[in-house]
Amino acid sequence: MKRASKIYTALVMVFLFAPIAILLVFSFNRAKSLSVFSGFSLYWYRELFRDLETLRAVRNTLLLAVSAALISTVMGTAAAVGINRLRSKVLRTAMDSVTNIPMINPDIITGISLMLMFVFVGRLFGAATSLSFWTMLIAHITFCLPYVILQVLPKLQQMDKALPEAAMDLGCTPFRAFLKAELPEIMPGVVTGMIMAFTLSLDDFVISYFTSGNGFQTLPIRIYNMTKKTVTPKMYALATIIFFVILTLLLISNLYDEESVQKRREAKAAKQK
């Protein structure tokens, strides 16, 4: 890299990481202030682990994200297989357009639209409040589905179409053919789609905000409610923990990638000999 490029990249990184560095530092503040550092302490971490409401929100978020990721991955992968086999151009275009809607629409509109429907249907059945864990799960599956489909479809298109047919000619049932021949081919797309769905669900605030009931709070909604009042470094302690969890996960996945690249290189070298 040229010198100018290095300086420019460094400047951008400073901008990107300045707020993160600040919240890391202030999570260890002894005092309550978020702008004057008065000494090192783990006080706010202790406070965080005493805050049952936040801990429950963490549990809720994980529960929701795992369920949404699993369901949207299964349904989305099946949908991609089906869409890939569509012969009719009109149907294909219709499917693609509908799949695009949640990605192009602003979150606020997706959230409002689902909320309006839930409220309307809830009123029809005479429920005072129809928003709950289930409405949130439906909303999360809905906005995750397109990302799964978009990850799986290209892998299906790259796959040799004769593969599942050959498996069936050799006596596999269609379902077995899918499991044995097709799924291993598209697995990278399925896994990426699932990870995307999981992280999208984990981080979503806007759609959750409109579709959540009073009883069920996810972490982003808990954070929103905390920032309505004066914020203490407790929230920064939470952010710091999240940051290090993410960093660890990224490092593991990077190491894993490098290892697999290394293995592939060795395999290639062995072949050439």
């Binding site: 890299m1 490029s5 990249t9 951008v12 990107l16 990481f17 707020p19 993160i20 919240l23 202030f26 702008s35 004057v36 349904m75 989305g76 099946a78 949908a79 297989v81 089906g82 569509l86 499917m95 509908v98 799949t99 809607i101 990605m103 192009i104 629409n105 602003p106 606020i108 509109i109 409002i112 639209s113 689902l114 909320m115 309006l116 429907m117 309307f120 439906i138 909303a139 599956i141 809905t142 990302y147 047919e165 269609p174 992280t199 981080d203 605030f205 806007v206 409109f210 972490l219 982003p220 954070i223 929103y224 920032t227 920064y236 952010a239 999240i242 940051f243 993410i246 990224l250 990077n254």
Partner: protein
């Protein structure tokens, strides 16, 4: 494979998603329109839509009192701030994407990870951290006065909202541009300069046109969330700069669902028209993600 099994597979794989998409993607949008065009007793009315265009409020700026169209002012402000943020993201993100794409594989991966880390942090916390930086008694001013550079007043201005938007959505601009540029054939650039094309012209005539699909999806991915945001403006604008998202959220909190739906409906129509125009102008399909 005989025709029967094929159609069976197709039905089994497509049906769950089709039903789901119809129920939870299409029908909710119809509900937005339904609520937008009805009153609280669900009788048809244009009132909600009309209110968006005609409602007025008084602005007292100390010297004179002016009467303005409340929601039109809010809409133009949202559009202006979103466009400025998108432009800044493009201006700063494009060179970074270029630098990344030209770097060696290892540096590329490191930079990619670094850009994605802030995306994984909760955006509410990131925005809140900016608030503590930009406050009048905040970290930036503490830093400036320690250097005897005076103080700046940023929080509660439009600039603060723009900073928040640029910070939160910057990665969405860099990533799509980078992924297009990384696939660019380096030989193409060499060929251009070998044939006597000066540096800047290579950028203008070769790199820019080829990176246009990435730019388009980057612009869409920054413009849409920043035009509809409501948290950034509340925290960094001190609630003084209402944006279209704040208007929707405010009506939702006040349980004015029909008017909230009307604003959402208008926003959706305007965005659809904009995207249609963008596709027409550039003759390219916008690919998100």
């Amino acid at each position: 494979m005989n025709r029967k099994t094929r159609s069976l597979i197709q039905r089994m794989t497509l049906t769950p998603y089709s039903v789901w998409a119809a129920l939870f993607i299409v029908v909710p949008l119809i509900f937005v329109a339904y609520y937008a065009f009805t009153d609280s007793a669900f009788h048809f009315t244009f009132d909600n839509i009309a209110r968006f265009f005609t409602a007025t409020s008084r602005i007292d700026d100390g010297e004179s009192v002016r009467e303005v169209r409340t929601y039109l002012v809010i809409f133009w402000r949202s559009l202006k701030l979103a466009l400025v943020s998108t432009f800044i993201c493009l201006l700063t993100g494009y060179p970074l994407a270029y630098i990344m794409a030209r770097a060696n594989k290892r540096t590329q991966n490191i930079l990619l990870t670094l850009i994605m880390i802030p995306m994984w942090m909760n955006f509410l916390i990131r925005t809140y951290a900016w608030m503590t930086i930009l406050q009048d008694t905040g970290i930036l001013n503490g830093f400036l006065s320690a250097l005897h550079l005076g103080r700046v007043h940023i929080i509660g201005t439009e600039a603060a909202v723009v900073i928040g938007m640029v910070y939160d959505y910057f990665p969405y601009m860099v990533l799509p541009i980078y992924s297009v540029m990384a696939k660019l054939d380096g030989k193409l650039l060499e060929a251009a300069s070998d044939l006597g094309c000066p540096g800047l012209s290579v950028l203008r005539r070769v790199i820019w046109p080829l990176s246009l699909p990435g730019v388009l999806s980057g612009v869409t991915m920054v413009l849409i969330p920043s035009i509809s945001t409501f948290y950034i403006s509340q925290k960094l604008g001190n609630g003084k700069f209402f944006l279209i998202g704040d208007a929707i959220e405010g009506q939702y909190v006040a349980n004015n669902l029909h008017f909230a739906a009307a604003i959402a409906f208008i926003l959706m129509v305007i965005l659809l028209v904009c995207m249609g125009l963008m596709q027409k102008l550039t003759n390219r399909k916008i690919i998100v993600a």
